[in-house]
Chain length 416, copies 4
C-alpha cells in the first residue's frame, strides 16, 4: 500500500520558491539523511517551475520559454539542474537521493504546456497531437504555463501516461499535482485520469493533490484517487492561518487513514524565503510551532518541512525529532476534536494498539493561561498514568489536570 502512514519529507517551495536548483536540493537531502531520516522523514520534493530556465523568485513569468521534449513533456532546465543534461531528466538527482536512503519527489501542474498545443506537438503512444486534447479554456488562474486536457478525448490518458512513465523511469517516488485539488467539479475526471496514469506507471508513487481547499463533500472521491490532498490554500507562518486550520482539521480528520491523508500543507519552520533580499526565519513563535506540530500529528496530516534544512537551529531540529510526538502519526487512529471554546481547543486520538489515548490541549487565546482538563469528560478516568509529550513529564491521572500553557501553545498527554 502506498502511503500506509502519512508521508513525511521536505519541499523546496517555502525556502526557494520557483527557483530551486540542484545544489540546494542536494544540500537538503544530505541534511535529512544525516539528521532526520531516523525519525521517519524520507521524501525530498522539488517544487514548481523546474522546467523554467529564468525562474528566480516565488513569482511566475507569463509567456516564458519552457523546456520540453518533442512530445510536449516538460524537462528540468539544465542551467538549474546540470545533471539533467543530455536528456537524462531527473534520473541522476533521484539516484543521488535514493543513495542517501531517501525518496525523491517532483511537482507538476495539471495539463500540458500551452506551447505544446499551439505548436501541435505529437503525443507519445498514440496518433493524436497536443492541440487535439488541450482545452483552450482550461487554464490555471495563478500560473500561466499550461492548458488542462479534454479528459474524455482520446489522447488525454495517453498524454498523462507518457509523463508518468517518464517520471517512473527517472525514479520518482512522489508526485505533487497542482491546480487540481480544489477544482471540482470540472477537474474530477482529470483527477481520475491522472490517478490511473500514476498507478499504471510501473512504480509506486505517492499522488499528492494541490492546492486546497479541496471540497469536503468530495472526500470519498479524493480518498479513492489520491494519497493526500490539500485541505487549505497555501499555508504560511501567520497565526491567523494556523488558527483557521483547526476548523478544517475538525472536519477532515475522519477522512485520514491508510493510503489517504488530508494534508494541512507544509510546515513553515526554520529558515524560509531564500529568494528575498534576506532569507528570513519563520514568524511563528516557538509556542505556535509546537501547536502546529501537535495539530498536524493529532489529525495525522502529512508532514512536509518548508525550511532550508541546513540552516536549522537547535529548536527547529528538536521540533522535528520528538519521537513521542511523531509516534502519534503512526500509532493513533480515529482522532477528533473534543471541544472548542473561545480560548481552548482539545483533541483526542486513541492508539491503534489499545495501549492508551492521546489528548492535546491548545491555548488559542492571546494570553498565557492555566488550562484544566477533566479526564472523565472524555471517559479517560480509568487510565492510571499520564505523560506530557513535549516536556516528557509523567504523573498520575487525577480528577482534573491543570497546566500553564503559553499563548498559542499546546501540550499533548498520553493517557495509558
Amino acid at each position: 500500500m502506498v502511503a500506509k502512514n502519512p508521508p513525511m519529507g521536505w519541499n523546496s517551495w517555502d525556502c526557494f520558491g520557483a527557483a530551486v536548483n540542484e545544489q540546494q536540493v542536494k544540500e537538503n537531502a544530505d541534511y535529512m539523511a544525516k539528521n532526520l531520516k531516523e525519525y521517519g522523514w524520507e521524501y525530498v520534493v522539488v517544487d514548481i517551475e523546474w522546467f523554467q530556465p529564468t525562474a528566480s523568485t516565488h513569482e511566475y513569468e507569463p509567456f516564458s520559454e519552457l523546456v520540453m521534449d518533442e512530445y510536449g513533456r516538460l524537462l528540468p532546465a539544465v542551467n538549474r539542474f546540470p545533471s539533467a543534461a543530455d536528456g537524462k531528466g531527473f534520473e541522476p538527482l533521484a539516484k543521488y537521493v535514493h543513495d542517501l536512503g531517501l525518496k525523491f519527489g517532483i511537482h507538476i501542474m495539471r495539463g500540458m504546456p500551452r506551447m505544446a498545443a499551439h505548436k501541435h506537438l505529437p503525443i507519445l503512444g498514440c496518433d493524436k497531437s497536443c492541440d487535439q486534447v488541450a482545452n483552450p479554456n482550461s487554464i490555471c488562474f495563478w500560473n500561466p504555463d499550461m492548458y488542462g486536457l479534454f479528459c474524455d478525448r482520446e489522447g488525454a490518458q495517453e498524454y498523462y501516461d507518457s509523463i508518468f512513465k517518464l517520471y517512473a523511469q527517472w525514479g520518482v517516488d512522489f508526485v505533487k499535482v497542482d491546480d487540481i485539488a480544489r477544482e471540482y467539479p470540472h477537474c474530477e475526471k482529470e483527477i481520475e485520469v491522472i490517478s490511473k496514469a500514476c498507478r499504471n506507471s510501473g512504480r509506486d508513487m505517492v499522488l499528492s493533490l494541490s492546492p486546497g481547499p479541496a471540497p469536503l463533500d468530495r472526500a470519498e472521491h479524493l480518498k479513492t484517487y489520491a494519497n493526500m490532498w490539500r485541505i487549505t490554500d497555501d499555508f504560511w507562518d501567520k497565526w491567523e492561518l494556523l488558527l483557521a486550520m483547526f476548523e478544517r482539521a475538525e472536519k477532515w480528520a475522519i477522512h485520514a487513514g491508510p493510503g489517504h491523508w488530508p494534508d494541512a500543507d507544509m510546515l513553515p519552520v526554520g529558515s524560509l524565503r531564500q529568494d528575498y533580499d534576506k532569507a528570513d526565519q519563520t514568524k511563528f513563535t516557538k509556542a505556535e510551532q509546537i501547536t502546529m506540530m501537535s495539530l498536524w500529528c493529532m489529525m495525522r496530516s502529512p508532514l512536509i518541512v518548508g525550511a532550508h534544512l541546513p540552516k536549522n537551529d537547535e529548536f527547529t531540529l528538536e521540533l522535528l525529532t520528538n519521537s513521542d510526538v511523531l509516534a502519534i502519526e503512526k500509532e493513533s487512529h480515529c482522532a477528533h476534536q473534543l471541544y472548542r471554546t473561545d480560548s481552548e481547543i482539545a483533541w483526542i486520538a486513541p492508539r491503534k494498539d489499545g495501549k492508551g489515548v492521546y489528548v492535546a490541549l491548545f491555548n488559542i487565546s492571546d494570553v498565557d493561561r492555566e488550562v484544566t482538563f477533566e479526564p472523565a469528560s472524555a471517559d479517560l478516568e480509568e487510565y492510571s498514568d499520564v505523560k506530557e509529550l513535549w516536556s516528557g513529564s509523567e504523573f498520575d491521572n487525577s480528577e482534573a489536570i491543570t497546566e500553564q500553557i503559553p499563548s498559542h501553545g499546546a501540550v499533548i498527554y498520553l493517557f495509558s
Copy 2:
C-alpha cells in the same frame, strides 16, 4: 454527571401522538421494567400535549383550552391523567415509574401558553406578569400553543425556574424541550435560560432539545447547554429517512461524549400509530431495523423506542436486547464513518478500554450483496479475533472478510 452515557428509554409520540393517557404510560412502564430494564433501558417519557383535554390524534388543535395553574404553568389534563387530580400534577405517575426502578420524563414546548400572556397572569417568584415577558412574535410554526419569551427581560428566567421547580417537585428525570433545537440564532439565549433553570431545579434531569436539525456549527453551544439534541426533523419508518441519517451521523459523531449526545430521534419499531383506524406495525424491514440499531449504537445516539411496547413481537424484543450491540453505546468512543460508496458504508469505533475495535458494514443498495472488508485498510490487521454481533458468529481475522448482507442490512464486527 447527568447522561454520562447515551440515555435509553421509551417515548409516547410514535404510538400515541398527542393523545397518550396515564393507563398507556403505565402499561409501557410495566413492560419496560419486566423485559428491558436489565439491558439498560430506563426512561419513560410522556410526549406533547399532556395539558390538552381534547387531544385525540397526532394533530394539534389551535385555540384550544389548555390546563394551567394561576401562574401560567401547564398541568396534566385530569381527564387523561386521573392521578393528577387535586393539583398533584405528574407526581403520582412519576412515583409509579420510580417504583418500577425506572425514570420519568415529560415533553414541553419552549415558552408559555399564549393565553397566560393574553390573561396577564402573574409569574411565580417575581413581580412580573406573563404579558411582560411573552414575545408576541415568537411562535412555533407547527404548534399553536405557546409564545416564546423575551429572554433578556426580567421575569423570563423566573418563569422557566418556576416550571422546572414544579417538575423537580413532581420527580421528573428527563425534560424534552421542543421548538428550540433548530431555532438558532434567535433561540440561543432561550436555550441558555432553560438550561440554567433545569440545572438550578434541585434535581438531576436530562435536558433534551427538539426538533432537528440542530445546526452543526452550533455544536459547542449545544454540548455546553444540553444533554442531547435532535440532529434531524422527525424520523419515521421510511428507508429514505434512514439512509439520510448516515450523512448527519457522519458529521455529528465527533460531538458525542459524556453528558452531550447528538440524537438521531426515536426508533420507530414494533407497533406504532395507535390513534389511527388501525394501529400499524413499523414499515421498516428487519434488515433496516438492524441497520438503524447498528448506526444509532455506532454513533452513540440516545435510544428512545417509539413502539407500544406491550405489543412487541419476538423480533422487536430481540432487537432491543442484544447485549453485545447495546454495549457499543457504553463501551466505545471516537466513532466515525470509515468510507462510503454508492452501495456500502462502513463505520469504525474503538473500545474505550483498548480491548478491541468495532466495525459496522452497511449495505445501502437495493439488492442483497456480498460485502468485503479489508482489515488493513483500517489498520486492524494486528487483531486476531473477529465476532459478528448480530449473529454471534466468531472467526479468525484475515486479509479480507466477506459477508452476504441483505439489502438495507448491516453487520457489526468486534475486532479483538
Copy 3:
C-alpha cells in the same frame, strides 16, 4: 374607475402615531378643506390602532384589550373617537369629512384580532367561527394584534366581506391594509380575498397596501388587485431614505397608470411626531423637500402628507400648492429615469396630451452645483419654450441649459 389619478391626501401616522384622536383628525380635515382642497387634495386617513383605547405613542402594546363587536370586527375606541359611541363606528366622522367636500379613509391590519380567535367568536354571514379561519402561525412581526386568515377556508372571504361592508356602511372611501404588501408569496391569496371584499362592498374605496417594499416581480398581481402599494419600508425625513427612493422609483415607474399606483409613502413635511416631548419639524431641508415632491410627481406616486397641517408654515403650504408641479401627477405618462451619475439624476415624462415634455434634474451631491442638460440628448431639440416649474422662470430652448441647483435640490422643466 377608482383612483384614475394618483390619490392625494393626509394620513395621521407621521404626526400622531398610534394615538390620533377625533379632534386631531377634524382639525386636519378643516385645514385641508380650507387650504388644499382646490389643489386636488382630498383623502383624510386615520392610521393604525384606532381600536386600541390606551395607545399613546408610535409604539404598540402587546396583549392589550382591543375594541371589537360580537363578530370580531374592530371598532373605534370611544375614548379617542367620542362620535363612535353607541356602535356608530366611524360613520359620524366620515360624515364630518364628507361635509367638507373631502373623502375619508382608515387603516387596518391584515387578519382578525387574536382574541377573536381565542374566544371562538362567530363570523357574520356564515356558520363558521373565528378560530376556524384564523391561522395561528400567520402573525405580523411588528404588530401584536392580529392573526392572518387561512384564505382557502370557508369563512375567510366572509370575514373580510363583513368588515368591508361595515366600512362601506360607515362611508369609508379609502382603506390602507397593512402587513401585506411585502408578504409575498404567502399573502398572495389574502390580497385577492381582500380585494374581492373591497370591490364587493357596495362602495368605491381606494385599496392601498402596506408596508413595502412590495416585490417588483409581483407588479402585475399588485396592479390587478390593488389601487396603490408601498414600494418601500416606512419613509421618514432622512436624506439617505430619499436618495434610496430614486432606485425604487426607477424600477417601479413603468407600473404607474390609471387605477394602479406604486406608492413612495407619505411626505414627512411640516410638523411631525406630535406624540414626543416636543413636536418636531421635518428634518428635510427645503431643497430636499423640493426634490421629494419633484420625484413623487414625476413617478406619479400618490401624495399623502404626514404633517400636522394646522401647523404648516408658509414654505410647506407653497410646497403643497404649486399647481404646475401638481399637474404632472395628472397630465403626464410614461415617465422614466433618463440617466444617473454620481452627482446627478434626470427624469423625463411626456404630457399625455402631447403638448410638452417634463424633465426633472436632481442634484444628489452634497454641494451646490451647476447642472447642464442638453435637450438633444433626450430628443427634445425640437421644442421652442422651456419653463422651470418651481421658480416659474421661462426661457427659449437652447443647445445646453445650465442651472445652479443647491445640494439635494431639484428643478423641473416643461419643454413645450
Copy 4:
C-alpha cells in the same frame, strides 16, 4: 452624435457563421442598397473570424494560425477576402460598401491574439511588447483566439489605439466588440479603454458590445461608453427565446435613447445557416416574426438582419420595409410595457412630436385569441383616430378595441 437613432443593418453571423467571404458580403450589400436602403437600413457588418483562413462553419478552431501583422493586429484572411491582399485590409471592401451609399462594420474579440503574446510582438506606438500587457488568465470561454489585456498597464491603451486607428484607416463605421458586454466587473476598465480608442480613432464608429446579457445594474456605464450593447445571449429563431425577450425588454427599455441602445440581437428571418448541409429558412412563423419586429421597434432596439438577403422571399422583404412600423424606431420615446398576463402583453410608446401614441398588443398564448384593449386604461380616451400599422386599417377610437390576433402574433395601434 453617433447613433442618434437605433442602428439598422445586416450582419453575416446568422447566415454564414465564422466563414463569410468577400463575395457573400458584397451580394448582401448590393441587395441592401437596392431594396432596403430607402427604409433606413445602412450597416453591412462582417462578423467573427475574418482573420482565420480555415474557418468553414459556425464552429471555432482552437490553436489555429490567425493572420496578423508585425504588431499583433489581426488582418483579413486573403483567401477569404481577396481584396485584402497586399496589406490593404478591409479598405477595398469598405470602399465598395460606401460606394453603394451604405456603411461598413466589423466584429472583433476583446484582447489580442494569444500568439502575439507568446511571440512577444511589439505594440505599435510605444516601447512595450504584447507579452507585457496580455493577461494569461483573461480568456474567452467560448472562443480560443485571444488574451484580454491588463488595462491598467502601459501598452494596453496603445494596443487598442493601434487597432482602432487601423480600422479608421480602412473606413470602418461600426465595430462590434465581443466577449465583453456581460463580463462585468472584470472587463469594466477594458470597456472604457476600448471606448476611448474608438472615440480617439479620428472616425465616427458605432461601438457595439456583445454578447449579452449585459448586467442591468451597469446600464449607466454602458450608456456612457457604448452605443449599443446586447441584453441577451445569442438570439435565434425559437419562440422560447422570443418570449423571454419581453422580460428583458421590459427592464431595459428605459435605457434607450440618442446614442445608447439596448440591443435585443439580430433578427433571424429569411434564409439562415448557409454553412450547413442545406441552408434553412427561419423557424419563426409569420406571426412570430411580426411579434419580433413589433417588440424590437417598440423598445427601440437596433435592427440587424441575419438573413442571407438575396434569398429573401416576399414576406421577409415586406416585414423589413413597413414604413409605419419602422417609424416607431425614429419617432417614439419613453416606451414601456403596459401590462402582462399569462396570455397577453401590451406596450406603449408616445411619439416624440406629441402627435400620437403607439400601443402594441401581443398574443403570447399558444392559441389564436380575441384581444381587447381599453384606451382609458392607458389614458388614451382623448384620442379620436386609431390605425393598425401591420394591416393599415384605420378606425375611430372607442371604449374597447377588440382584435383577433393569431397565436404568438401582434398588432400595433397608432392613436392620434
